[in-house]
Symmetry: C2
Subunit: 416 residues, 2 copies
């Protein structure tokens, strides 16, 4: 813990300096750091190569090696990410709802940085630069704990960023990385309440569960997505087919992809054959797994009970048949992961009921679930998509990395 | 855990029904429940008497017995609390920032209940009715875990509320109480992520620490207050004296009382003698504990290092001497509990620096820290004062018991 406490102390020590930075200064720094990553390309690629060699020695699956790999285009992508963050509005400093109270006190809420943010993530080294950019722009100090597979890449990226911060006379310790990636140190990191204001895990469900179960620091849970589309009896079936194909196949491994269809029995047969035709003619192979009624409507594999709760991240869709919207809402609220859910309908009441009664971060009418994303929602880069209810829900942009404090102007008021 | 799981299941089962209640229905119910508490006064007082007898047998200190005691006036106070909550605006259902995106999607954030709220509290039985009122008004289901000393009183209050809910055809399980007050069950309760969306501890620092360290459910930390007043070199000393006496003595055992003075050396002697005179003539006995410079300026007890971090909740004030505002800010940010801090000054720059640089839920210029309170801030009853940065900071009214979900209206949009 000695090393971790030292990291914590250093983070705390620069917190107040970070709070005071103007947007102009932060933006200038982000642009310089973006350029710095490109200037340091050789060092970063050399370090990355060490990680890649190790990964291949371990016979890591190819998909994961690809996630780990950096090249010129990917470093350029990181730099472009930082430039984009520089171009976003800075939420820090805004004062909300300033009001006069009857006794003359003026009370408002000022938006301020959270302080020190811990981020625990897995193998993609680009998260290192992305997470730093969002935290820095909002005046926060960040402590990163990346995966052991990417440790050399992460260290090289952090070194590049710290070098630029130093040359700009800004606090280097605005970003630190925990070099010891052991499980023990990671668990200790989750208990550093004294130094860390919020912990954000980014990665698979196993990582997120470990953090939620072990952290004593407030956690923002970013989540897995078992997203449903409900095809109502009053759906435009052609629209439904287009939206389902988009939500399932536009990108397969993402948390806002559709994993499960809920279909009204009265249109099920029509819909399923239309869907099959469209998938065939688009040459998309999607395995359907249905309940008894769905299998009767069209031949497909039988779904087991486990299918309803599953995030496939694959070319598979489960199909649940319902006889009314109540059943649809009940089923979705039971099995969803509170991420993104959509109804396809022309019926006003069913649309409103779905919006009101489905419990999820984002609820859609007649649109693809794939839009749940910071860029698509119009607030730029995101640090993740929150599936919990506290603090931030849905895509988390810069605003989610801030808090408020009450500021009160008085002229001698005392309480009676 | 069997019993707890059953409580969790029952809470979850009525969550969606609670979400759908209109404000009119909720307000009518709150008024009926308020009347119900008065109607059931005899049962509640009988139950309370059992708790009081037990407490006296255990030789509980008088102050604590008094906190536990109910009488007609206090039951009337609980009823009045519920009537006040009924009169507040209902935040649920408001849609924030609905905007059209370039692709025609309309995206807004709808304010919705948090779901199931767990509250762990100590001996005051009035919290039972207060917490229910705030949770019910915001469409939340509440599971209460009160202290063992008040168990009979709490059960009687909950029984009265459930009886009225039933007679109004509303879900009784909108309020449940965990009757087993053992430590083991309490710890199990803190791990009920499956059923409980947020846990709010209300009580002393020991209780709060236990919840923060053991809960896997997101916690809103309500806090202790080591609140400072900084008397700047440019302070109106008469105003400073009035505010300090108010903040220290208007009510002694509360979290927003002032516990520590930070005084600029150039006005320290003048200020301390003025303060002493004012305390003497108001017949208020406040022990001052100063650092060396303060003791030199005026005779007083010597402060030890432990004094700086202490929430006395007593007629004691520590006095720290500083030679400039930087030292004052550094000292306060080091020792405060992020609750409420005030500067007394006529200097514009120092006022702004204090507001900007002090890290606390509420930062004041020229006013008493005693105003940090839901009623004083103008949003009515509060569930507590948050000293953490996530979700809610400062006094938490009805709004803090809600979250948002994105609602998205489309007409066939798919992602490119």
């Amino acid at each position: 813990m000695v090393n971790l406490n030292n990291i914590g102390e250093r983070a705390k020590a620069v917190e107040s300096e970070m709070c005071k930075l103007t947007s102009a200064k932060k933006n200038k720094a982000l642009l310089a750091i973006a350029q710095g990553l490109l200037d340091d390309e050789r060092e970063i690629l050399n370090a990355n190569n060490m990680d890649i060699v190790k990964a291949k020695e371990k016979q890591m699956p190819e998909g994961l090696v690809d996630r780990l790999l950096l090249n010129h285009a990917r470093i350029d992508g990181m730099a472009e990410g930082l430039r984009q963050v520089a171009s976003l509005d800075d939420p820090v400093g805004e004062v909300l709802g300033m009001k006069s109270r009857p006794n003359g006190l003026m009370i408002g809420q000022k938006r301020v940085p959270l302080g020190v943010i811990g981020i625990i993530y897995e193998s993609r080294p680009n998260v290192t630069a992305d997470a730093f950019g969002l935290c820095f722009k909002t005046g926060n100090v960040v402590i990163l704990k990346g995966g052991s597979d990417a440790i050399n890449s992460n260290k090289a990226i952090v070194a590049s960023i710290r070098k630029r911060l130093k040359s700009l006379y800004l606090p280097e310790d605005a970003i630190q990385i925990i070099e010891d990636t052991s499980r023990e140190t990671t668990l200790d990191f989750m208990k550093m309440n004294r130094y860390v204001n919020v912990l954000i895990p980014r990665g698979g469900s196993g990582l997120i569960r470990t953090v939620v179960e072990n952290s004593t620091i407030p956690v923002i849970e970013t989540g897995t997505g078992n997203c449903h589309i409900y095809i109502d009896e009053f759906a435009d079936l052609d629209m439904a087919v287009r939206i389902v194909i988009n939500a399932k196949t536009q990108r397969i491994g993402v948390c806002n992809a559709c994993e499960s269809l809920v279909v009204h029995e009265s249109i099920e047969k029509d819909f399923l054959y239309k869907l099959k035709d469209a998938l065939d003619s688009a040459k998309k192979k999607v395995e359907l797994r249905g309940d008894d009624k769905a299998c009767n409507a069209m031949s497909m594999n039988k779904a087991s009970d486990e299918d309803w709760g599953k995030e496939y991240l694959d070319y598979i869709l489960s199909v649940k048949t319902v006889s009314n919207i109540d059943e649809a809402i009940l089923h979705i609220n039971k099995y969803n992961t509170k991420h993104s859910e959509s109804i396809i309908t022309k019926d006003y009441d069913n649309a409103q009921r779905f919006l009101n009664e489905i419990d999820a971060a984002a609820v859609y009418v007649n649109a693809s679930t794939r839009f749940t994303d910071g860029f698509e929602f119009g607030f730029g880069a995101e640090i993740g998509i929150s599936t919990q209810k506290l603090h931030a829900r849905g895509p988390m942009g810069l605003m989610a990395l801030t808090t408020t404090k009450y500021i009160i102007y008085g002229n001698g008021q005392t309480r009676e």
